[in-house]
Symmetry: D2
Subunit: 447 residues, 4 copies
């Protein structure tokens, strides 16, 4: 098969004139940070870009990669200032469209509204490794976007392109196991965001026969997972995470499991923020597992409640109860929490209320709950002393939640949630909420 | 790997309510052709589409595939009428932008200018085989677009998406040879547009060791070439095509060739019309061949002059010469043409003038010349009696042209051609043009 | 991955001394056909072979391939004369073993009994393409072995090696369909031995969705099938072959088939004669199909009776009946045979008797019956007018047989057949046999 | 592709009768260890084995795997007693051959000399995973063979088969790097025999861009390396190993290296002992590297002298020098050794003499020297303080040797070494040997 390296050896040099131009531009770099890269971008959008697109795109990306922080900031600003649409052209096309809203006038308007940046990014994508470079570029952009509000125009263009390029129809679902190349496996260790993987031995247990790991990949980003999910095949829905993470846990025969517990899901690419893959991933993995192991009857998560403790500590409506509970959580040794049913009896209803009724601007407070309920899952069970790790105690007060995915109900649940704001929950969870004092204000819009 | 079939067995049924809706809609099909598909499209763009996207998208495509011609026409019209942007929203956003051309107002304007059709197509793409279905849909659309000018709005949206999805960075170059699956090879036989392939034995010779065939593929369209090129490895630049096509031609050792002759290039997907792959393909194949066979010194085409004879027959400025030449072409037996140097001496200069100076609206008349010159090739040689097939005689008066690709000059040639309108040609070709009578009007803008 | 070509470019030259020797030897070729190759073989077995094994082996095979017929015959004779075991060494080791039949003396005896040829062949196998070359070498050897009885010693050595190398454990079962490379498919066309494949269109029908084709491959012979079987998925056991071969036959949904009919099985490698793959192939394919299509209930063949007509024409015990039947077969138009129930009524019992009782030296006369019955199949049904092709009429009098494979019975049937000589047959077939006159001598040992 | 699991689900049950027999046999296991497995082996060699070969072979291997140590010992003894050749048959065939040493009598003799064990092993190989099981079986056999001299007969049969099955022509050379599946990489960590790999981070450095690792694989043992070699790409031939193993060593551009240093080669399969892969591996890897990196000019090893220190400590002829040197080696801190040129000056000549002249029974004492010299390498340089690890000091007194592979000389060197016993060494090494006192007895046949 074609070697990209050769291709660029041959074309990469660009014709003589171009090379001189580039050198001159790069020498100017010290005086005007980012200017040389910007000039190359202009060239790429010009006629030259048509003849030597891939080679010139590669030059841009190489030069971009060499930029110092100041150069990168300047370059992003150039993208805003020099590659946006023409206001006059928009005004004129908008006027023409308003005069006569025809097919032609609409196409003309759409053309001038699209920033030339988008075509620039499409041409940069032709370089070898172009897609990866653009994803990384957006990752860098997002790191500093808060300080540069005008960069939102760049971000909007990249996001628009990525939503198109990373369409579900182009993604590949792949199982990850011990037969997977090490270069991919080490990325799992790196990207795992929920329950950290402590090296290769830990990873090996998570890929044993009673565990499953699946990831989405994109053909243009080989060996680079976009998102991955870790699943434990168990008997009964897990109510504690430490046994699942225990490296020495007994390995069971998958044919004897009746439940798949999704205990971790991690996005891998900061540059793809805002493009949601999790919903598709969970459902397709459930379908795959169902196909492979008909003995699986239940698909559920074991999820944190990451905002619960912070809410508990700050919600004004919970005083004076709050201070006492916080104090007990801080005083009590983690190992004794499982047996403290009294504390459980006081915190679990509050957690249920937080999950079901806690809202701000009409939106559920808890991000994990939002994600799974929006996917069409059901809030099934709230488990006491389910994650005794420092992280679990600090974020979720040690509590974890099972969200249940019943594939024949996700569509209805999703519509109820999105259209009516209804949180679909089990009777057990409803009972917890109802057990709270009737006069307790649990919809805490102002929390 | 995940079995799509299972995925859809599980999800494909959609929740009960949805199913009933769909059935009801499909039953309505007879009354209002295309209406049921359109309603499914609306559902796909609604909340339901978020929960059951891939499954619902599949339903849409299945229903679309079942449409009768009348239903398809109605459906396309619905796409125009019901999935276009909102004129009021555009007016309002355009006004807001003009008031204050900020990042936010631009993003808002761009959002409303984009037709909801685009999001619809992106969601359809999530279905298994979605990309192929959309490409086929545009193929059908184009067949009848001349009669339905408003469909241009649909076409513009599809073309915009396809330009993004079929970006060069996502294409895979693959060599086609006798080790290629038959399902791909039979597509070559089907799609070959220049020199028809007469069955498997003919194909086999075209894939022998002194021939090369390369195609671009897209990951979402496996076993479906987008474009392919056929190359002969020879000694010296070929000046006649029949020896290259001769099934019984001696097979030479590629290590002894000094020239790669690109003698056929064919687009395969009507639904991707307007997206140019040929420029990239020729150049990358040249680079691949150079890497594999350093003995290759020359890369050239052997191309038809498809508009020459028609031009000859109609160009008013050529009278009275024209009638005589046409007559001779019609009277003479093809087999005796190679020896008719007198006729050659009269037609070749005219052909050269046609290629170099024949224009309409400032654009070169000959489409093949336009393509290669725009790519940065040089018009190198015009060959008499080079294609004696009926097709070659009817279109090109039996003449064929070598366009020369020198990789270190394509950028400069391209810029000269695009910016200055200059046709880069060899001295030999220039001489042919100069041999014409000085008073002959050869720039035939009105031809 | 390693390029064999380079490997040999580097090693292929062999050290200077060796090269000179080889050249000298090759020059001597004209005088003594085959001698140079033989000398290279001696070198390969010497110390030099240890250092430069693969390179030297390659030299031998190249030189062997250049041999003229006379040289090849001489070379084979050298293999007999110069690479056999030492009679004295055998005598001595045999004597030592008889004196004291110990582990050591047995190992010593086995070592001298093995001809050095075997080590020579093992070393030749190290050359790139060595396995293929040796298989081809045996193919050539077998073509002329009848005239050279001493070559049986060579053949015994090659067969011994091949039985080891082509052990079932090393074979790969692969499905052949329209996604298979053309280079493999054209071999099916070439090797099909039962019902000739008439070009690519015919092949395409045989690989449609209601057909299956599987082959065994060996890792050292890529793209080279060893044996393949063709299967039709149908409703009910087929009793005629022409409908299965009909290119225009309707293509059914495999999920609606209840029967897999094995209608053709062909060995591909003359050089592997005597190594039986068919038994394994049929059973594993049955298992594969059962796994893929649980709707399949019956696995049966539709097989010729290749020796029936010849037996009918020559068996003395059948006079005077014989002459009349033969005459009718010759006179009657094939198209009218299906309706000639009277002739069917007379021939089918004879065919049943031929299949069940016709023996020579205790062995069944019909080779196809021997093969399937030995595999453990049951002789299920004898079909009149089942193959009306000239070949089918000439060999089998148009009759074909269904042998039934019931996987839970093949072991018992096989043992009955091998140990007791019992032909396992259906009641229907038994009834045919019993319908013959009681005094008819149907066990025709002397046929 | 065929699922072996299904194949055995279907066939694995064996016919009813067989199953009962097997159960009965297995129940008898307690009374007669190994007897049940042996009986299954007899069945596998009988008619039943022909019909149900793969399934029965699988039963044998499953039962064998369940054997306790005592059962395994008994089973091996049964293989000796019950599956050897028939002495009477050998006597008779040997007699016949001596009477008339014809092709037929030789074939007949060879047939009876071959133990039925070989056919048994060939049939066992048909089971899924059969090859791996047989290799493991021989590994176990070899562990205890010293105590069971008659097992040598089994070993001879297995070795004979493995030599045939693992012929160089069937091996696949594969590069190992960070893209290799973890299941293979962890085997490198496990099998590395020369310089232990200390976990995944250590391994990662050994697979960086200026390192190479290649292994031979066999198609029947996927993901199971047979032997692997580790190579460092460096400038100049390395004279110390610690810098090569340093995890923090700078990573250089392979295009700037001029030398490939083979610093570790490890066999992986105890069950393949006695089958030499190393010679082929080193030479093919050298060829591969040469092809990939034409900048490489030198191919050399950096090898231990594993027997040197033991020889130094025991060789009587070295007294009284010996005791003093040993004492100094023991007293001196490893870190100061590199600067102790005086000690170097005394030990290096002795090491050179040990390597060049130290022999027992005519064979070189040092196994590593034997291996490389036999391969045709040259003893190039002896390096002081080259391996200061405890292992390096204990075995080689810290000394390491560069053996030079010049591909155009290996054949001549090999022949000189094998035929004339000549150690091909550099002038520098020769000088070291000559620097010893003339009266020093350095050929220590009795060492």
């Amino acid at each position: 098969m074609p070697t990209d390296s050769f291709f660029h050896q041959l074309f990469g040099s660009i014709a003589d004139g171009g090379r001189v131009l580039i050198d001159r531009q790069l020498r100017g770099l010290a005086r005007q940070p980012g200017r040389a890269v910007t000039d190359l971008c202009h060239a790429l959008l010009s006629q030259r870009g048509e003849a030597s697109g891939a080679a010139l795109a590669r030059e841009v990306l190489l030069a971009y990669n060499d930029l110092e922080p100041a150069g990168r900031i300047a370059f992003f600003q150039h993208l805003v200032d020099e590659f946006g649409p023409e206001p006059e052209a928009i005004a004129s096309a908008a006027h023409a469209y308003q005069e006569e809203p025809s097919t032609n006038s609409l196409i003309a308007l759409a053309r001038v509204v699209e920033a030339p940046r988008q075509e620039l990014f499409r041409r940069l994508n032709m370089a070898p490794g172009g897609t990866a470079a653009l994803v990384a570029m957006r990752g860098m952009l997002l790191e500093q976007i808060a300080e540069h509000p005008t960069w939102r125009a760049i971000d909007a263009d990249l996001l628009h392109l990525f939503r198109s390029w990373f369409n579900r129809g182009f993604l590949l679902l792949e199982r990850i196991d011990w037969h997977t190349p090490a270069v991919v496996l080490e990325k799992l260790i790196h990207y795992e965001a929920v329950h950290a993987i402590d090296g290769w031995d830990d990873l090996r247990r998570r890929l044993a026969q009673d565990r499953r790991c699946f990831a989405f990949f994109h053909p243009a980003l080989p060996e680079e997972p976009l998102i991955f999910v870790e699943v434990a095949l168990v008997r009964g829905v897990s109510d504690r995470v430490q046994p699942l993470l225990d490296r020495a846990a007994e390995i069971i025969d998958p044919a004897e499991a009746d439940t798949a517990v999704f205990y971790s899901i991690s996005d891998c690419q900061p540059g793809l923020r805002g493009i949601s893959f999790g919903n598709f991933l969970i459902k397709q993995v459930a379908a795959e597992l169902q196909a492979e192991l008909p003995n699986l009857k239940t698909f559920a998560t074991l999820s944190p409640v990451p905002g619960f403790r912070a809410w508990l500590e700050t919600a004004p409506s919970l005083e004076p109860l709050r201070s006492e509970l916080i104090q007990r959580l801080e005083d009590e040794a983690p190992a004794s929490l499982p047996d403290d049913q009294e504390l459980a009896g006081r915190l679990l209803p509050l957690c249920a209320a937080y999950l079901v009724r806690g809202r701000r601007d009409g939106q559920l407070l808890d991000p994990v709950a939002r994600f799974h309920l929006r996917n069409g899952a059901r809030l099934e069970r709230i488990n006491w002393a389910a994650d005794l790790s420092p992280q679990g105690l600090a974020g979720s007060a040690g509590i974890m939640v099972n969200y249940l995915y019943r594939l024949d109900q996700v569509e209805r649940n999703h519509e109820d949630f999105v259209n009516k704001g209804r949180v679909v929950s089990s009777r057990r969870v409803d009972g917890l909420v109802r057990s709270l004092p009737a006069d307790m204000p649990v919809v805490l819009e102002d929390a």
